[in-house]
């Protein structure tokens, strides 16, 4: 294994390390063991999503008669992913500022979503610039759509990353409930001061709003 294999390994390590930095910054909002949990889970979200989407990418490139080899295409995807992780690592200090100044949970959630959106755009830009072979737009848009859907579900499955400081427990993962879109909309409303509940019940307490 030479050249592309070495490059792929390096890109995976860069992605894992950079995403871990971002995860640690997110986990710092709660502190303690959550820093380690989020630092472990954030690279998993990115890399497992890419791994799950890789076969769809292979199928798409075959469907459009791509000229480049499978390995070349996968390296391009990894390049885009590494860019996503690097941008996330770059915005980690902004999250840490939020932690230091005691920003509200919902502001931090929106900041996290915004960071992910910016990083995603940077990743797609890398993919476009790397001249994805064959008919460019159809496979790229399809792959990006698949990646977004799988990534959203993967991140939802491995949550929490951002935990309220007053929360007494810190689970590695939570049970599945609702969807990511619903949760993001709820965070947006809460940031504007529109709450569905009068307060968030602590673990063990009954939730009268459900």
């Amino acid at each position: 294994m030479r050249f592309l294999g070495d490059l792929a390994r390096a890109l995976i390590i860069i992605t894992a390390a950079s995403a871990a930095v971002f995860g640690a910054a997110v986990g710092a909002y709660k502190g303690g063991i959550q820093i380690a949990f989020a630092a472990i889970k954030m690279p998993l979200v990115l890399l497992l999503t890419a791994a799950i989407c890789a076969p769809s990418w292979s199928a798409l490139r075959a469907a459009v008669g791509a000229r480049a080899s499978l390995k070349t295409e996968l390296v391009r995807v990894l390049g885009g992913l590494a860019m996503v992780a690097l941008v996330l690592a770059a915005v980690a200090p902004a999250l840490l500022v939020g932690v230091v100044v005691g920003a509200s949970y919902h502001s931090m959630a929106i900041l996290l979503c915004g960071s992910a959106a910016v990083a995603g755009i940077a990743g797609v830009a890398v993919l476009i610039r790397s001249r994805v072979s064959g008919a460019v737009w159809i496979p790229l848009v399809t792959f990006a759509s698949v990646f977004v859907i799988v990534g959203a579900q993967m991140s939802w499955t491995l949550r929490p990353y951002l935990v309220r400081p007053r929360s007494p427990d810190t689970p590695f993962v939570r049970a599945l409930e609702g969807s990511l879109i619903e949760a993001t909309a709820r965070s947006w409303d809460s940031m504007k001061g529109e709450y569905e509940r009068e307060y968030a019940p602590l673990p063990g307490e009954e939730d009268p709003w459900r």
Binding site: M1, R2, F3, L4, G5, A8, R9, I12, L44, L47, L48, A50, A51, I52, A54, P55, S69, L70, K71, T72, L74, V77, L78, T157
Partner: protein, 196 residues
């Protein structure tokens, strides 16, 4: 199928890939660790054999679509050299006749302006001749580099590997073509032949 079952199946595939990667050289523990969770992504790099179409050292060789424009630029530069040669063969660009003209002007006590014009004309012709010589040398060397590139391409086609210096060769060709562009830009500057 429950999420846990899918996860177990996924990890089992990953472990299988890791065992397969460790069972054949080159064995790398790091690769085995990476391939367990990321086997759909990293597996091809471990298990698909490289072919001639793979980028490796062969990827350094430019394809026909990349070589054709370079060759076209080389041909254009050769045509430009032929134009300069044709220009220098014209009687008005003959250096000996300009020198004779200068001598006769001085002997006849011509005006300073007339002598200065003849001197300017000689200088312009000399400058053009120097640029022509530089361009000819560059084109000759560039032609040799193209031959070397063709040889490397044939070597790769037959033997399946190329010399690592081929990347320097391609970079050298591109740099020299840029240098030729500069020389050509200079030769396109208007040449004043002065008033005689």
């Amino acid at each position: 199928m429950a999420l846990a079952s899918v996860a177990v199946l996924y990890v089992a595939c990953g472990l299988g890939c890791a065992i397969a990667s460790m069972s054949r050289p080159p064995r790398s523990f790091l690769d085995a660790v990476i391939v367990v969770p990321l086997w759909p992504l990293f597996g091809p790099f471990l298990f698909i054999r490289s072919t001639g179409s793979e980028p490796g050292m062969a990827g350094l060789l430019p394809g026909p679509e990349a070589v054709a424009p370079l060759r076209e630029r080389l041909s254009a530069s050769k045509r430009r050299l032929a134009d300069i040669d044709a220009l220098l063969r014209k009687p008005s660009f003959d250096l000996d006749s300009v020198n004779r003209r200068l001598v006769s002007l001085s002997a006849a006590g011509a005006s300073k302006l007339a002598v200065a014009s003849a001197l300017s004309r000689r200088k312009a012709i000399e400058r053009l001749a120097v640029r022509r010589k530089t361009l000819a040398t560059e084109l000759e060397e560039l032609g040799e580099l193209f031959l070397q590139l063709e040889t490397q391409t044939e070597v790769f086609r037959v033997a399946g590997h190329v010399d690592e210096s081929v990347s320097d060769l391609v970079a050298d060709i591109q740099a020299r073509l840029e240098g030729i562009d500069e020389i050509e830009a200079e030769t396109r500057e208007p040449i004043s032949l002065g008033q005689t």
